[in-house]
Amino acid sequence: MNILNLLNALPGAISQGLIWGITAIGIYITYRILDIADLTVDGSLCTGGAVCIVMVLSGQNIYISMLAATLAGMTTGFVTGIFHTFMGIPPILSGILTQLSLYSVNLKIMGKANQAINVDKYDLLVSLRYIKGVPFYQNPIFIVSVSIILLVILLYWFFGTELGCALRATGCNSNMARAQGINTNLSKVLGLMISNGLVGLSGALLAQYQGFTDINMGRGAIVIGLAAVIIGEAAFKRIFHNFGFKLIGVALGSILYYLVLQVVIWLGIDTDLLKLLSALVVAFFLGIPYWKRKLFNTGYALKKGGNNHA
């Protein structure tokens, strides 16, 4: 229980939290904007990592590899979108189907269950080796923070465009969206693509950071992402009202999640129990709005119109 151990672990926790923050922003887009709980992410995170690492190992430039990882993530979102809109499968089941198929796809990409990469031999953008003793611009905390700010600016712009507004309307009230001539199926596919593209990018960064990609690296990603979304909203809802800041809040929520996780580990809890704890914490927070409504009968005014679940 040496406090120095905890302090030493904090920069690593913040870096991981930031990288997962990109996943969390992706999940925010499906979960909060499109009103879909998208389980594709458990598979697409690894897809992003696998594509990035395998490409770098075969001599590709790191930026091109990360772009490819993002595109691979978008493809997985496209597949889920097609399952849902074109084949009429409920969104959760569509995500599960893609996730399961990605297990095979990811194995084929990597050729085996995991693939390591040595930061000394390959030119990587982020690595846990760069946490200390490098100029600030090589520090993963700096690099990922800048990336998140750029992504948030891009997303803020996009959701203010005609297409972005159509996407938001689809998630909020799909009946209204169709009455206003919005192709809600297209919106959903597009939203799932954007979300999983971000998750793929996050996976690429995570694999570089930890120095390997693993078939199980995405297990429970949806829960971690949701935890980050919920923590971020709860912690910053009084400060951040603007959409862009809300996204920043989600990324900060992800950092908070990893800090708490680090403290829990430092306290000496059996790490086997961490996923159980995460799931219970998320379940608890997801239940709050329901109980609030039940006990205080509030929130009617903001209730969404119509039945949005296609």
Partner: protein, 264 residues
Amino acid sequence: MLEMKNVTKIFNPGTVNEKLALDNFSLTLEDGDFVTVIGGNGAGKSTMMNAIAGVWSIDAGQIIIDGTDVTKLSEHKRARFLGRVFQDPMTGTAASMGIEENLALAKRRGRSRFLKTGISKKEREEYKEKLKILDLGLENRLTTKVGLLSGGQRQALTLLMATLQKPRLLLLDEHTAALDPKTAAKVLDTTEYIVTRDHLTTLMITHNMRDAITHGNRLIMLMDGKIILDIRGEEKKKLTVEDLLHKFEAASGEEFANDKVILG
């Protein structure tokens, strides 16, 4: 302007819940017609509107709006011809988006949506002017989330959205039924004002016989998926609620059993 030819719609075919909702239904509207639609529960009023709007596909028949056969078009593609206001105030607007954002969505109905800005400065001024017509003070609350508005305010806003670009056909599906009498009257006044000003072809379902008589130039009554009464022109102007009840009994062979329609 609108032609429905022999439209048939059967819900739950082949089950015990099978329901013939539209039975070889035909209706033709001239340009500028304001038709009020009455009928008991399950008469097919909303089914008729949903058939026009393309909420689902019809089993037989043809629907033509302003010369375009829309029978096979999906709901969002037909939207460019139609302005729609629904019974439930929650249905017509996006609650988590601002008033101006909702209007901007309606402004782009029927156009391709790409990466241009969602709302331009010029539009904001236009929306302010248009919101003044509603006389609800919404012109000063452009960025307010629609979810914070009352049911009446949301219906008035939906009406404005439906008519922001002149629709070929305005569909009002009992749009005042969920409102208190005073608010309902106000929304109906606004409806009359906009329909007259823009010379809109309109179909309005109502539960209220008096409203059905006062408004519009033609009245149709539906029963069992068919039109059983069709009154227009001079005859409609002289119509009273009593007349209507007698005509209903003569046409249907039974007494009008719905208090809500008579007293509403």
